[in-house]
């Protein structure tokens, strides 16, 4: 059991302080760097909140595609990537569609953490 406020809560607060209180005190040439810091904090906050659940869900889908999770997390994704390179799923329409759906979910899950604004700008959430 950790003390409160939570890590993500502290990150959110620190980011607010940076953008609201510190940014106006910084010279203009430091603003870009400060925004990069704020952006990094926002990514770290979102990743801390969501934890490993989104990645685990994708891995489960890859496992289902193969019917076997014996390769472990990294091995499974690497096998998936290798099979996409080799065009393995192109031989079966249903598996090919499943593979594409996993790619969509994987990408959306990553962007929800790294850049949700970009997702929104592309009509996704």
């Amino acid at each position: 059991m950790r003390d409160l406020p939570t890590g993500p809560g502290l990150l959110a607060l620190a980011r607010d302080v940076l953008l609201r209180d510190l940014m106006p005190l910084l010279p203009p040439e430091a603003h870009l760097e400060a925004r990069l810091v704020a952006n990094s904090m926002a990514i770290a906050e979102r990743e801390a909140i969501s934890g490993e659940a989104p990645v685990q869900q994708i891995l489960c889908e890859v496992e289902t595609l193969y019917g076997d999770g014996s390769n472990g997390e990294a091995g499974l994704l690497r096998q998936f990537a290798g099979d996409l390179r080799a065009g393995v799923f192109e031989e079966n329409q249903s598996r090919e569609r499943s593979a594409r759906e996993i790619l969509w979910r994987l990408t959306i899950a990553k962007l929800r953490q790294a850049n949700p604004r970009f997702l929104n700008a592309n009509g996704l959430s």
């Binding site: 952006n39 990094s40 690497r78 990537a81 290798g82 065009g87 790619l103 969509w104 962007l111 700008a121």
Partner: protein
Amino acid sequence: MAGTGSPQSEPDGLGPPVEDHRLALARFLAVESGAERVEITALAALRGGAIQENWAVDACFTGGGFAGSQRLVLRTAASTGVADSLGRLEEFAVLKSAYAAGVTVPEPLWASDDPEILGKPFFIMRQVEGSAAAHRITRDLALEPALPAIAERLGRELARIHTIRPPLTDLAFLAPYEEVGPVHQIAGFRAYLDRHPAPRPVLEWGIRWLETHVPAPTEPVLCHHDFRTGNYMLQGAVLTGILDWEFSGWGDPHEDIGWFCGKGWRFARLDREAGGIADRTTFYRGYESESGRRVDPQRVFFWEVLASVRWAIIALQQSDRYMIAGECNLDLALTGRRATECELELLMLLDPGGMPGDA
């Protein structure tokens, strides 16, 4: 091929910073310009070069053809970079070719690889006025009415770049097209991914599509290979210079068109497909009117897909400069995260309407 190598430290990039070389630089400028004396009155690092360092150099020339105050830019390598970018002397030669072909570029003046001057190769060009800030260009309401004309002008400029064709003695250092065409680029992407610690299934899927849709070979031209919003300077609504020629090489003319139209370079206006500033038709019109050749949308599509893969890999390489080469730079570290934006674009290009409903 630009952007498929590894992060690299240039052994000559670890020397003292440019500020420590004022006197040697002043002497170099005097010798090259025929001046009796040159005094450097201001030297300031310019933002924006992710791989190269650019320095604004204000100098007062006494005598010679440049007598008086001159505003110059010195371009040299950062301490780490990505493989496949040209050396500074090579980039200088490409810039000279573009200048001679009538492309709007900063006038290239002098170059040197004498280690006694800066400790690393560099070149000097005239400073052009204006801003290349892509977010401002794509969202500045005051600029809106001028954007179609700017897009058309950029189309014409690109066509002018593409008038430079091999073989050219001055550009003999550029790899032959047969060695840098799409098949080689695809091999380069895969070689990079094989070295990358994390698997990238979306990129693999996109590269597979590229492999099975390679267009027929074409007559190569000089491609800028990074012709995009963010790499041209505007003073008000006037184009003052096309910048950053470090990735130039022989290629398919549609390669530059696909890169310019890629979503990665539309910044605040994803809906405006030509560099975030106009529709494609306007940009293509400028290109076609200057070149006399029709743009082939199918070829552009191929190169736009390749652009998404290439930009993703460059983004990962930029991040590698922090992760592997140890360059302490938050901008570079964050750039790696942008690879996933390119992957989304790949999915949207190659599987339109394929997004799962409950994602």
